[in-house]
């Protein structure tokens, strides 16, 4: 199980943040149980909690000892804020994870978007789907992975739309969607998105 040995920047970052927390836990991606405790770094007078995620990262190259990137989540009674950091520096401001999506998005998908900084892209995609497709019966976003892809983490977002259109309209709209994706979403982001269109 993972622990803080590979997240040097995390500790530095936590020590540098003006935290006021009374309890804390550390979780590895996909793990259901706490795997460590960082309360020593948290001010004991606090009332909030902190949760730290390690992001999926490729294997270390020889002589490389550690990486320091991931997501910190701070929450209190009024909701959750997410910070992303890389090399000990915050790259995503608190509150950006509370994105207003135009359709239901699964919790796993939201967390994945937080980790990858894809919240705004997903929000933009969902708005565009609503704009392009007519007669939408159902629209949602969830996480999936390609089962035959044996080498790399192939986790990606699936936007599922159900329409009550005829084939010609549905396929023409789908084609418009792919054109929009090709021109408006960078390859580095678009590789995390798929869209399925079902005529119902």
């Amino acid at each position: 199980m993972n622990n803080f040995s590979g997240t040097l920047g995390l500790i530095e970052l936590l020590n540098s943040l003006p935290l006021t927390c009374s309890n804390s836990c550390y979780k590895s991606p996909g793990a259901s149980a706490d795997v460590g405790n960082i309360s020593i770094m948290i001010n004991s007078a606090a009332t909030q909690s902190v949760l730290a995620f390690n992001p999926p990262e490729p294997d270390l190259v020889p002589y490389e000892c550690t990486r320091s990137s991931g997501v910190l989540a701070f929450w209190g009674d009024d909701g959750e804020d997410i910070y992303s950091f890389e090399n000990g520096k915050i790259v995503q401001e608190a509150g950006t994870s509370i994105e207003e999506f135009a359709a239901p998005v699964s919790q796993e998908c939201k967390k994945f978007c937080d980790l990858r900084g894809l919240n705004s892209v997903l929000a933009k995609c969902l708005v565009k789907v609503k704009e392009i497709f007519s007669n939408i019966e159902k629209l949602s976003a969830e996480l999936d992975y390609f089962r035959d892809n044996q080498e790399e983490d192939s986790t990606h977002i699936v936007i599922r739309v159900e329409v009550s259109s005829n084939q010609k309209t549905a396929l023409r709209n789908y084609d418009r969607w792919t054109c929009w994706m090709a021109k408006n979403v960078t390859p580095n982001d678009s590789e995390f998105f798929t869209l399925t269109v079902r005529r119902v």
Binding site: D144, R147, N149, E151, E152, L171, A182, P187, L195
Partner: protein, 142 residues
């Protein structure tokens, strides 16, 4: 064998109503498309030589996606979406596949191949090759 011949099988199967036929039709449509593009890339000189059995689909899709040619980027999105439908068909047994699903997947695969054949020019192929080659090297695929 010309991979687009798989479309004939897909067309035959989508006329049936049973789940195995419809799901297999979806799979044949996807494989017609992905193999067509794999062969196109191979003809341009782009072939996954390192660990060819791994990430074979990703190689094709990403070479197109990072090609810098809009038609190819668009094709990569079609392919990835078709890959999703094919995975749904082969692994998500709880989902019911309809003739609409098989028919739409078939038409998408057919259109994807035909559009690419029509819209690619020698100049675009050259751009695709240079950009995709750089990406493939960066990924240590070539």
């Amino acid at each position: 064998m010309d991979p687009t011949e798989f479309l004939k099988t897909a067309e035959l199967l989508k006329t049936h109503t049973e789940q195995p036929h419809l799901r297999t039709s979806v799979g044949r449509s996807y494989y017609a498309a992905i193999l067509f593009f794999r062969e196109c890339l191979k003809n341009l000189g782009l072939e996954k030589k390192k660990h060819p059995s791994q990430q074979a689909h990703d190689f094709v899709i990403q070479c197109l996606r990072f090609s810098g040619v809009t038609e190819a980027v668009k094709a990569s999105q079609y392919l990835k979406d078709l890959q999703q439908i094919r995975e749904d068909a082969d692994y998500h047994l709880e989902r019911i596949f309809s003739q609409n699903d098989a028919e739409d997947t078939f038409v998408k695969a057919q259109k994807l191949i035909n559009d690419f054949k029509q819209k690619m020019t020698k100049e675009k192929e050259k751009t695709l090759l240079n950009s995709a080659l750089a990406h493939a090297k960066q990924k240590d695929w070539i």
